[in-house]
Symmetry: C3
Subunit: 162 residues, 3 copies
Amino acid sequence: MQEPREAALQRSIDSLGHDFSGPLRQGGDYVPVQRDGCTAYVSGQVPRVGQTVVVTGRVGAEVSLEQARHAARVCAVRSLLLLREALGGLDAIQQVLRVGVFVKSAEGFSQQSEVADAASVLLKEVLGDAGSHARTAVGVYELPKNAAVELEMVVRTRDPAG
Amino acid sequence: MQEPREAALQRSIDSLGHDFSGPLRQGGDYVPVQRDGCTAYVSGQVPRVGQTVVVTGRVGAEVSLEQARHAARVCAVRSLLLLREALGGLDAIQQVLRVGVFVKSAEGFSQQSEVADAASVLLKEVLGDAGSHARTAVGVYELPKNAAVELEMVVRTRDPAG
Amino acid sequence: MQEPREAALQRSIDSLGHDFSGPLRQGGDYVPVQRDGCTAYVSGQVPRVGQTVVVTGRVGAEVSLEQARHAARVCAVRSLLLLREALGGLDAIQQVLRVGVFVKSAEGFSQQSEVADAASVLLKEVLGDAGSHARTAVGVYELPKNAAVELEMVVRTRDPAG
């Protein structure tokens, strides 16, 4: 039996060792989640906790694969928290449809898929089969706030109201 | 009261100081706007006016933040003009859903969000609340025609015909 | 009259000179195609044939424009084969909506649109007007498995079942 999503998310948060209890800060003149009927677009998330981007720099150089995977998990948790707020609860997520992962990469670093996997696995741990998704992972040159990873997603929601 | 969209767009165009009266040229074997029911996908736009990409080069090196913001505004105007043509008018835009912004970035340049904000603000100036959107901004290594910025969007349209 | 899609795809495959008869391998913890009603999201594809990514390296340096265009075609064929498998046949593709093309680019290489055109033309050769689409092409710094090109797409399907 699938664990309740709220409990599973809390377990993921605990394992990351960050405090996500404050407001989810964002820079920029856009909305975190834009709904369109049963589709919800989540803005690109950097691994920010409170005021701080917790993993910065170039993956494959000063940022290790494991640190980048940690960053991807933080991005995924932020996305879930923003969806929970916008939709009124995690149970309103019917299916994650597409995840895009951007990794600030050092020359010669080609494990963007291994970085993205950390987020993909977390989404399935929290949402079960509803966390499964199509995905694109690429290695970019720079990211906002010198973040090591940025993650965006599109999800199907249960209820078009809101 | 919200200004009529056509007048607001003209004001944005005037403030940019470019002549957008000619056909909107594009390179490549694709369509500028692809509709799917009430969803419209706008192809990635570089800051081209007439035959010329008006802001080229690497942002944070030979291109300043303010020049990059100008480029982002030109991309947003092009997108609106293409939507106006495809949909038969700006009033057919019900909601901008997602904007993707790609900034050709110098090493160490991490203000992609500040670049993208210029486009986001313009969209809201022209469309009001309908211009609000989810957004992803990243720093890429190169762009077509050496453009400094490229911008794509997905919008909800009022009318699925077309 | 439009050639049957299956025959057109086989002709495209023959012209590429690769054997696509085996299973379509992927790395990573995601699904190749995620459906949502009549929309299908295809995960980012690198030019892999069997176990091998057939075009690796930086376009504009060790990879030529023509080799990159070959890579883009292989990505497009993979996407079509994955859609055929997920949808039960190529005829279930009603319209390609959006194609995203990421080119691992050398400094100064700005022909990302010319690379992407090779995929766009192939899609129209196989699908006719249904292969026409909106598109975004950008130059990234690195790609998974050192691939030269990665391609993703969103398509409209005829039948929401499946």
